[in-house]
């Protein structure tokens, strides 16, 4: 309102108060507008740039190394501990000593929480100790009369006052408090290993007279009351086949594989699945002569065995199946970041990582699949300390022989990701060779995530390649004709049509590809190929015959309408080819071309790369077409006129002058088209089987990066490794298209400069 009164009022004198006030007001408005527009504009641009940085911000933690902080330090009464554990919440520690005393204590200040003493008869002395897989919390003592006792740590969690958590530790006896007679001859058990899982318990012990005894206890729980059960014990002797003294026994959690480690560095690998058929599968010399095995532990899941050596190296071994279905253990990978002899190895419980303590007091954190050393830090003065890793692998408790106790916090969120695990061949557990695999999740808790982006990137490239094979020739040739030969009237029809084509939602294209085209192609495969061959032939034939058509007819159709003449021809070719498909298939391929392809060793999926290539090519054509067409059309007229005036035919002018001038723009069009093909999601999601295979076969599917994100993102837990790896996939896509587009844009800008000088 105010503005209007000013406008309609009589003009004030130039330097009067009113005029100055008005001028100031206008100046203020101008400044305000400048401020608002500049601020807003910069804000929008920052918001756009933010995308890149946000993706980066989510991805970067993947590559952080681990961090270890000593949180608490206190003294305890020194005891001769044989084992130490830490509960899931990093609150309660359990120290197990050599005299069968168990002491639960507060992991942050050492206050005793509970003490237990095992029911071992006084006349029997404890000789040996064994710990089962950390996730089960199973332990056993071996006695000097050939007996053993199995016990288990348990934590009861209750919330007596609302949100305050109370952890009550307990000791349970999974096979009862009765002692198990592992050696019927009653010899003392010098060395012991134990596992108990799912009602099956196995104890394997080395007796004083060097016999290896195995007891397998099957528990049969009463289905009405699970505290009532019966036990079935079998005891067998395992024949040792080497005279070298045994230094370690290791049994996997499924109680199928036994590894006996000898002093001379040999590992003997036994199959102990059936008590009546215990056999040695293999004996390997695992270390060079001058090196000893100083520690051995299973990785979580009980498949891989980690061997710590006296030269500080840690080796990972696991059984590999060969073509004849025989298992042999093989050295998979080694970690040699530490140099002092390895003292102990603590596997993580949920991931394929582990923590290592060596003689010099260095603690190392590793991950096997990623082949990553995340940390080596000297935190202990006394290498005789016992360590415990919490089940969530975020706390480390150490108790030195003199009672010095430390609690450390570990920050190690994403050890499973490295350049190696993302892009290179990885030898996963239970696979027969190193492979590129993508399998991000599974229902089992000791699953080894297979996070190779290589097959997905391969899928993206494959899709883009076949799409470009279809799109580039059609789009460029079409653009040449439209820009250079077509009559303006037809051009006015063609250009909007192609622009509409660009706007078609890809979800519609993908749905047609998956539900209409894929079955159509499968049922008429010979017809599809005959279209590919017949169309160019028929076009050329038409062109030749056109010269034979009487002039009177020819002149009725003005020049530049060739494309319109060809439309019915192409349609007829299509229809005839489809009609011919069935007889052709009967004639050449025994009636079933996909089946015929399968029999020649070429796999055939209904939703395959051929379908994707056709449909995605269709989606990319308009992008390439528009840019190329614009470029050719805007080649300065004096160039073409000059060329024609010198006697060149239109075709010569086109190839020698126009295309050369426009070639940078054509390149940039192809780049932009490629960018679009790489990032396209819905078509690849709907028109392929989405299986991450690495095979360039046109009749098989693939899984592209974009489709993978679309499928898995909604299920990925926030800030989990999986979530961040999907962000990384998005970042890869972003960067790839950004590179293509920038390249295209730079070329185009240079071209624009060149044109303006012509």
């Amino acid at each position: 309102m105010a503005e209007q009164t000013i406008e309609t009022s009589v003009i004030a004198a130039a330097n009067s108060k009113t005029a100055r006030r008005r001028r100031n007001w206008r100046e203020f408005k101008d400044k305000l507008a400048r401020f608002v527009v500049t601020g807003g504009g910069i804000m929008v641009i920052v918001a756009i740039v933010l995308i890149f940085f946000y993706l980066l911000y989510v991805v970067i933690p993947l590559f952080n190394s681990a961090d270890l902080r000593t949180e608490k330090q206190f003294e305890q009464v020194p005891t001769n501990n044989v084992h130490l554990t830490l509960d899931e919440y990093n609150e309660v520690g359990l120290a197990i000593d050599e005299k069968a005393n168990l002491r639960f204590f507060d992991a942050h200040n050492g206050d005793a929480i509970a003490n237990f003493t095992l029911p071992i008869p006084e006349e029997n002395a404890v000789n040996s100790f064994a710990a089962g897989s950390a996730s089960t919390g199973i332990f056993a003592y071996g006695l000097n009369n050939g007996q053993a006792i199995v016990f288990q740590e348990k934590y009861k969690i209750s919330y007596p006052q609302g949100t305050q958590r109370l952890i009550t530790p307990e000791i349970q006896y999974p096979i009862g408090e009765e002692l198990v007679q592992v050696d019927p001859q009653g010899q003392s058990l010098e060395m012991l290993t134990v596992q108990s899982y799912d009602d099956l318990t196995t104890l394997i012990a080395l007796t004083a007279d060097n016999r290896l005894m195995m007891s397998r206890i099957t528990k049969d729980v009463n289905f009405l009351d699970d505290t009532v059960f019966t036990l079935d014990t079998e005891t067998v002797e395992i024949k040792l086949d080497s005279a070298a003294p045994v230094s370690m026994l290791r049994l996997d959690i499924d109680q199928r594989e036994l590894y006996v480690i000898h002093d001379d560095g040999d590992i003997a690998y036994y199959d102990v699945q059936n008590t009546d058929n215990v056999r040695l599968i293999q004996r390997v010399s695992a270390v060079p002569d001058d090196v000893e095995i100083t520690a051995a532990e299973f990785l979580t899941g009980g498949i891989s065995l980690l061997i710590g050596r006296s030269d500080g190296q840690i080796d990972q071994w696991f059984p590999v199946r060969d073509a004849q279905n025989n298992y042999t253990i093989e050295l998979i990978r080694s970690f040699s970041e530490q140099t002092a002899p390895i003292r102990s190895i603590l596997p993580e419980q949920a991931r394929k990582g582990f923590v290592v303590l060596d003689e010099s007091g260095d603690v190392g954190i590793y991950h096997t699949t990623a082949e990553r050393n995340l940390l080596v830090e000297n935190i202990l003065a006394d290498a005789n300390a016992k360590m415990a890793l919490s089940p969530r692998a975020n706390g480390l408790l150490t108790v030195a022989a003199n009672g010095d106790t430390q609690f450390h916090e570990i920050q190690n969120e994403h050890p499973e990701v490295s350049w190696h695990s993302l892009w290179e061949k990885v030898w996963y557990e239970s696979r027969s060779e190193p492979e590129y695999l993508w399998q991000s999740s599974s229902s089992s808790s000791d699953f080894e995530p297979k996070l190779s982006l290589t097959p997905l990137t391969f899928g993206t490239i494959k899709a883009a390649f076949y799409a470009m094979v279809v799109a580039v020739p059609l789009a460029i040739m079409g653009a040449i004709f439209t820009a250079y030969f077509m009559s303006p009237r037809m051009r006015n029809l063609v250009k909007p049509t192609i622009e509409i084509m660009e706007a078609l939602p890809t979800v519609i294209l993908g749905f047609l590809a998956g539900l209409w085209l894929a079955p159509l192609v499968e049922n008429n495969l010979p017809g599809v190929f005959s279209i590919l061959i017949l169309t160019p032939i028929m076009v050329l034939l038409t062109a030749w015959l056109w010269t034979k058509v009487p002039k009177s007819i020819r002149h009725r159709i003005p020049e530049g309408w060739e494309a319109a003449i060809l439309i019915p021809i192409v349609i007829v070719v299509g229809i005839v080819s489809m009609k011919l498909s069935l007889p052709l298939e009967n004639l050449l391929f025994g009636g079933d071309m996909p089946g015929w392809l399968e029999s020649t060793g070429i796999g055939y999926d209904q939703r395959n790369s051929l379908v994707v290539g056709m449909v995605m090519g269709f989606a990319v054509i308009p992008t390439i077409f528009s840019i190329t067409e614009d470029a050719i059309f805007s080649v300065p007229k004096q160039l073409t006129i000059g060329s024609l005036a010198l006697g060149a035919t239109p075709w010569q002018t086109l190839t020698k002058v126009v295309l050369l001038t426009a070639s940078p723009a054509i390149f940039s069009a192809v780049m932009i088209g490629l960018g679009r093909a790489v990032g396209e999601t819905m078509i690849v999601l709907m028109a392929t089987g989405n299986t991450p295979i690495m095979d360039f076969n046109i009749f098989e599917g693939f899984r592209a990066l974009s489709a993978n994100i679309a499928v898995e993102m909604p299920e990925a837990a926030v800030n989990s490794t999986h979530y961040r790896v999907l962000f990384l996939a998005a970042l890869v896509l972003f960067s790839a298209t950004f590179v293509f587009n920038t390249l295209a844009e730079l070329v185009r800008q240079r071209l624009r400069k060149k044109y303006s000088s012509l």
Binding site: K29, D30, L32, A33, R34, V37, T38, G40, G41, M43, V44, I45, I48, I51, Y54, L55, P473, M477, F481, F485, M486, V494, T497, I498, I500, M501, A503, L504, P505, V507, F511, L512, G514, T535, V539, T542, A543, T547, E562, L566, I567, I569, G591, I621, W651, L654, G675, E680, T681, M682, L685, M686, S706, M713, P714, F727, A730, T742, E745, L746
Partner: protein
Amino acid sequence: MSNSTFKSWYQSGSPWVWLNAGAVSISLIAVIGLVLLIAVRGLSHFWPADIMSVEYNEPGLEPTVLMGEKVNHEVVPAERVPSDYPLKEGQTTVERYLLKIGNRDQFGLDFRWVNKDWMGEISYPKDILAIERREWGHFYGYLLSVQQQGETVAEGEQAWPEFQQRLERSNNLVAEIKYIEKIEIGKINQALESLRLDERRLELDGVPEDNPAYAEIEAAKALENEKYAKLQTRLSELNQALVRDQVVLQMSNGQEVILPLAKIVDVVKPNEMNRLEKMQHYFHEVWKFVSGEPREANTEGGIFPAIFGTVMMVLIMSVIVTPFGVIAAIYLKEYAKQGFITRTIRIAVNNLAGVPSIVYGVFGLGFFVYFLGGNIDEIFFQAKLPSPTFGQPGLMWASLTLAILTVPVVIVATEEGLSRIPRAMREGSLALGATKAETLWRTVIPMAAPAMMTGLILAVARAAGEVAPLMMVGVVKLAPALAVDSVAPYLHLDRQFMHLGFHIYDVGFQSPNVEAARPLVYATAFLLLLIIVVLNLTAISIRNRLRENFKASDN
């Protein structure tokens, strides 16, 4: 002679020109063919097709009568049929029809491939009924009688009018029940939920339990519960009335079936209808499709929520994208110093138009939903935690994500429009003493308005067709409620919504009965296509007119 003309023909480059022309023809055929394919399949779905009745003698089985709608037809090479198929001597192909036989609850499947060799004579009996049911898909059969509480009230000739009359009554009852369930009970639920939140908020604020505020809330709750009980009695009365009528129908195999009217949406006798009636029914069906709600895991019924969701999302997106896109373009063109940085920004903006949409989806999920949304919940919706309000995918985040995705389109189009305005216009205005802001506001922007409009239309067209990012930031298979309703604050930006494009993906690829869903997917695709083509044609025509205008002013 002929050889030399061929050679000269070849040398003239004419074959190459023709090949290039061929590429244009192929592209044109592909676009037009595709649009026609979708249009024909999508539109023909609503036509009440004739239902045939045919005797079917499958070797080794009792002869039966099949009744259904012919959906598809194919010729299969003999090699692909099962080996136990009794081929005739020298037979190389087998001809089959796909029949929609309906009655899925009775037959187990509603589509069946039948071999032509085993089919007897085809007839189109006039009195076959095609019944659209609320569940289990279509029912095809003959009407025998109409029952009320199990007693026959009409038979033979009188049955049909009686059926139609009673169907109208039952449909009215169903509509009333739905109104009560969705609107009135929905209101009560909302009220109860907000009361619960009030109570939780009091608890969070540490208000002691003997505070009168709690009693007030309890009283309000009791009031709502009372209302609810009243509605419940009304509902059970209506349900009582609804189950009154049944019809007795005979299926193709002679078996009799009793169908409660409550389960029936619509009934026609397609074989008896003439063109005009069919046309009428056709439009009725189209209207039901556009305005109805989906049933049967989205494979039946209408797509109104999807249309509504798409429109809402696009509208909110436009409101966000237009000012920001235009301001950014004006800044780049009019205020920023033209130099290396501006050029870099321009390249970056251009590039962003080419960044895959899925990347925007990932960004939207991470930044908007989890980061922004999570923080908003922490600050404003603490009472509702741990169930998220804005910390989950929803309409607002979807719109924002698409706004970021389309902002380069608006920027580029606006910039182009601004750069088309002749210098003389600006200089004239400045020379008359106008400030820069005044020049912009009164001269430049009005002239560039059509360009902005074009940018916005293109942005809307792109947004309407985008699906991949939406799958992460707010689109769902089936939204329980629309984003706009009669409960304050009327527009619920935190709600998830349905979308036409996602509907196509979901129904076409995730539904258990793809065959039944297929026509619906085509129809949905046609609708989406129509919206996008119309939007684009508008943009193109605006742009063309714009060019003409400027050509005139340039001269």
